[in-house]
């Protein structure tokens, strides 16, 4: 395996494995938000804001993996 192929595989693995955790996390956050909405429909705006913030934090983990993948690819 030459260096270039190793670089491509490393890029794909970095973002691919890094997307698993945040994917699960965002799923849980969305599911729980819908649950909360079902229990308390009046609190929709508060739930939505909290959910979007939570999703942004979970997504940030995937973004770290993406940054690593981009650094491997382009630097």
């Amino acid at each position: 395996m030459n260096g270039e192929a190793a670089q491509l595989i490393a890029t794909a693995l970095a973002i691919g494995l890094g997307a698993i955790g945040p994917g699960i996390g965002i799923g849980i956050i969305g599911g729980k938000a819908v649950e909360a909405l079902g229990r308390n429909p009046e609190a929709e705006s508060a739930i939505r804001t909290t959910m979007i913030l939570g999703i942004a934090f979970a997504e940030a983990v995937a973004i770290y993996a993406l940054v690593i993948a981009l650094i491997i690819k382009f630097v």
Partner: protein, 245 residues
């Protein structure tokens, strides 16, 4: 494939000071921000206020209420810095999406080689900018912590010899302060840079119309990241200025 550079590229040198393309757009945003703020401040002194004043007031009031839930009665004191964080980052993110940013190329001679590089680049797609924002935010948290609790009380969170457990949690607190800088800067940089790459790749694959939904997504992401940065700063501030139990 479109050329993607992970760092901001230098355009010209001014008295040994390198002007990069992200610094150029950052200056544009800075002056826009400055002019809007001066206009607002002038308008607020008049007795007959115009529509612009009420529009800005409406936006500021909404941002104020966002921090109200976190900071409670301290909100009035911290709102200037947190609100400027929010609006400044929002402007930086959205100016990076304007047409012309990234698509207007200039020719630069570097030694023998000739490069074509974009004239403007979103400031938050440059790690230096987000790193400086992160350092400012975390340093301010330390400074306000010392100001509100006193030096002795604040430093006890980090260096504490009363028992072994609190000594080790103190060490962990020190590490977590540094990791806050890294997570602040990489979160903002990653989101904005990933958005730029996404838009460039989509426009390359399908030239017409396909990038429009992604552009809307990027507008949303820019807003959410500005919100996340300022909200997280607010949370860290409120933790730092509250007494330990």
């Amino acid at each position: 494939m479109p050329e993607i550079s992970i760092k901001a590229e230098p355009i010209f040198h001014f008295l040994n000071f390198t002007i990069t393309n992200s610094l150029l757009l950052s200056a544009v945003v800075f002056f826009t921000f400055f002019i809007l703020a001066v206009l607002y401040s002038n308008e607020s002194k008049k007795s007959q206020k115009n529509l612009y004043y009420y529009f800005v007031n409406f936006i500021l009031k909404n941002i104020y209420q966002l921090f109200q839930a976190i900071l409670k009665e301290k909100n009035e004191y911290f709102f200037p810095i947190l609100g400027s964080f929010m609006i400044f980052i929002l402007f930086q993110n959205w100016f990076g999406l304007l047409p012309g940013v990234g698509s207007i190329l200039v020719t630069v001679n570097e030694g023998q080689e000739i490069h074509h590089i974009p004239l403007l680049r979103a400031n938050n797609a440059d790690l230096n900018a987000t790193l400086s924002l992160g350092i400012i935010s975390v340093l301010l948290v330390q400074i306000f912590g010392i100001k509100f609790l006193g030096f002795k009380d604040y430093i006890r969170k980090f260096i504490n010899f009363s028992n072994p457990i609190s000594f080790f949690t103190g060490l962990l607190e020190i590490i977590s302060e540094f990791s806050k800088v890294i997570s602040f800067s990489f979160r903002l940089f990653g989101n904005i840079f990933a958005g730029e790459v996404l838009l460039a790749i989509i426009a390359f694959l399908i030239p017409i119309l396909a990038s429009f939904p992604f552009l809307v997504l990027e507008i949303f992401v820019g807003l959410v990241q500005a919100l996340v940065f300022s909200m997280l700063s607010a949370v860290f501030l409120s933790v730092a200025i509250s007494k330990e139990h």
